[in-house]
């Protein structure tokens, strides 16, 4: 094994244990790992931002005389006016651009991707062949309708609306339970991945090396 890989494994193992130590309580090992993590990940972000965006999309574009890129560059630089008390309002312009973009993209995208698509999926024949599919179709329709009624804000919850909203909560609770159960297994597998690293990549080779050292 090459020395820098060995060093890497030991460092990674140390960080893994330091983070797990937080489960017991906050401690110097966790604090050290946390601060190293923040420093390294932010440094990484800065470099990615520079090479992937500033270098590729700004400097390269300027090199090819695509002068239009000056506008977002100026808007980006305008963000720095935050450092000045008097001129900080200038930063509102790029912020306004981003918010306008977000709202303008979100409105039609969510109509198409959420509203239309899920309405389409819900509209199905209720009376179909067979008792089970028919019952399922009715439950689905009931669940969607009552769930929607739960989200009514300006209608007072009394009489049938109250019953429907209550049923809506019932459906929501089933979903929350099922989603929770569904997520459990995926998350456990990540833990297993970490334990695998500790045991197979760190402890086992180390023990083997110690064995070789003392056993000849």
């Amino acid at each position: 094994m090459i020395w820098h890989e060995l060093l890497g494994i030991w460092l990674a193992a140390g960080f893994t244990l330091a983070i797990y130590s937080f489960l017991y309580k906050d401690n110097p090992a966790y604090k050290l790992a946390e601060h190293i993590y923040v420093g390294v990940s932010t440094g990484y972000l800065i470099c990615i931002a520079y090479w992937e965006v500033i270098d590729k999309k700004v400097i390269a574009a300027l090199g090819q005389h695509e002068w239009i890129v000056i506008i977002p560059t100026l808007m980006g630089l305008a963000m720095f006016t935050r450092f000045s008390k008097k001129a900080s309002w200038v930063s509102r312009i790029p912020l306004a651009f981003i918010i306008g973009y977000t709202a303008g993209v979100a409105a039609p995208n969510n109509i198409q991707g959420l509203l239309i698509e899920h309405s389409y999926a819900t509209i199905n024949p209720v009376l179909t062949a067979g008792f089970a599919p028919q019952l399922n179709a009715i439950i689905m329709l009931l669940g969607v309708t009552c769930g929607m009624i739960y989200f009514f804000f300006s209608v007072e919850r009394k009489g049938p609306i109250k019953v429907a909203a209550r049923l809506g909560i019932f459906f929501l609770m089933i979903y929350f339970g099922v989603a929770y159960g569904y997520m459990v297994m995926g998350r456990e597998s990540i833990l297993i991945g970490r334990l695998n690293f500790l045991i197979l990549d760190w402890i086992k080779p180390t023990l083997a090396a110690i064995g070789r050292l003392f056993g000849g």
Binding site: I19, F22, K25, D26, Y30, K31, A33, E34, Y37, V38, V40, S41, T42, Y44, L45, M79, R82, S91, R92, L95, I98, I99, Y101, T102, A103, A106, A107, P108, I111, L115, I116, E117, S119, Y120, T122, I123, N124, P125, V126, L127, T128, A137, L141, V144, T145, M148, I149, F151, F152, F153, S154, V155, E156, R157, Y175, F176, G177, A179, Y180, M183
Partner: protein
């Protein structure tokens, strides 16, 4: 008499021969199908809702598709630069029988049942070398493994690829958007005249006062997180709107508000909003820009740093409002461990269960978007909530009605209009 007999024999022979020939032909016919039958119709049209780059060639299905489907039947498109030819076969223009029915592409042709009888192919009109749009002429051929040369249709077709300025297949999205925009505006006007509009209780939001009061009493700070997403998510903007109201109350209660950010842009906006809230509350001097800061930019380093900060600062109240991913429970459980009162709200459906289990209050989905209006009590925003409700009522009715019509369609399959509502909601 004898002549009669002779003619009778001849007649019998003729009939026998005919029957024999028919049987023989039929027998042969089973092994070798008749000639390939050409489509009756062949036409070229401009591709709807594209930027003038391609055209569609459409033809009626050949009857041979039924009889020779197992013989590798396919259509061949011939292209020429002038109506006189020569027509050459292009690799891209060999059309099989899979997914080429016009009814397979409702985005291009709509939902009419007669489209089952037509096939189509989209042909680019952009010259690969010059990248200019040109006009070409086309002929249709049909072939299978039993013939060496395709059988050609005489018809020569062409169409000009035109620029379309509207994606006509997105008309349903446009209609819903216009309807909602109309409702927003109408309901705002309506709310101005009816300021005492009823809005049901949203427990998580009602608890905001209690949460801030608790922090003040305990002399501990309040932590507010706007989530995992940058400002490119509407949930983040919704969260920043709620923050404005929370910050104003914090300023009034003279508590301390900490807002660690994962994004520089959200940091800028949250600083702006909190500062303004303190000014609005008449306490500009109490605003501390250093309490609204950038803590880490990567998902889990953000979690590690916020969790660390939580156990050290021990906020009395945590707000988790916005879009959240895997970090939701990592933050909420740490918050629970330090005994903070926690109010969460997210549009991330997979994270809601985690917040429901680990937090004291959880705004579910749309409630996050309603919270700002609810807190502000401003008639214009409350009117907007009414507009949202009307949209949902219309939607519920359409879903119920659509399902009833679809049920009827099972019994009357020839009544295609019964599918109209379902087809309206097709995202094409």
């Amino acid at each position: 008499m004898s002549g009669k007999t002779h003619s009778g024999k001849c007649g019998f022979f003729a009939v026998s021969l005919t029957v024999f020939l028919c049987i023989a032909m039929a027998t042969v016919g089973i092994g070798q199908p008749g000639e390939l039958v050409l489509p009756a119709e062949f036409k070229a049209i401009d591709t709807p809702h594209d930027a003038g780059k391609s055209i569609l060639l459409v033809w009626s299905r050949s009857p041979s598709e039924e009889t020779r489907a197992d013989k590798g039947l396919e259509y061949v498109i011939y292209e020429a630069t002038s109506p006189e030819g020569p027509f050459k076969v292009e690799e891209k223009a060999i059309v099989g029988l899979e997914d080429t029915l016009c009814s397979d592409a409702p985005a291009l042709f709509g939902f009419s049942p007669r489209h089952k009888n037509f096939r189509f192919v989209e042909i680019s009109q952009v010259d690969e070398e010059t990248e200019e749009v040109r006009q070409h002429w086309y002929r249709l051929g049909i072939r299978d493994e039993t013939v060496t040369e395709p059988v050609m249709l005489d018809t020569i077709v062409t169409a000009k690829a035109r620029m379309n300025y509207f994606m006509s297949h997105r008309w349903n999205t446009l209609l819903v958007l216009l309807l909602m925009a109309g409702l927003v505006l109408v309901c705002i006007e309506w709310a101005k005249k009816h300021p005492d509009l009823f809005i049901r209780k949203i427990p998580g939001i009602d608890a905001v006062d209690e949460a801030i009061g608790r922090a003040t009493e305990m002399g501990k700070p309040i932590m507010y997180l706007t989530g995992y997403s940058d400002i490119d998510s509407i949930a983040t903007i919704a969260s920043i709107n709620i923050l404005a109201h929370v910050a104003k109350k914090v300023a009034q209660y003279d508590s301390r508000l900490i807002v660690p950010n994962k994004w520089a842009v959200t940091m800028t906006l949250t600083q702006e909003v909190v500062k303004q809230a303190y000014i609005n509350a008449g306490r500009p001097d109490a605003y501390n820009a250093d309490d609204i800061f950038f803590i880490a930019g990567e998902q889990f380093s953000y979690v590690a740093a916020v969790d660390g900060m939580m156990v050290r600062e021990k906020p009395a109240t945590n707000f988790f409002l916005g879009s959240f991913a895997a970090e939701s429970l990592l933050l909420a459980e740490t918050g629970f461990s330090i005994g903070a009162l926690q109010i969460a709200g997210t549009d991330s459906t997979y994270q809601i269960p985690f917040f429901v289990t680990a937090c004291d209050y959880c705004l579910i989905g749309e409630e996050l978007y309603a919270a700002s209006a609810y807190l502000s009590r401003e008639p214009r925003l409350l009117g907007n909530l009414k507009g949202q409700d009307i949209t949902k009522i219309i939607l519920t009715i359409l879903i119920l009605l659509g399902s009833v019509l679809m049920s009827l369609h099972v019994f009357y399959p020839e009544q295609h209009w019964l599918q109209a509502i379902k087809h309206f909601f097709a995202a094409l």
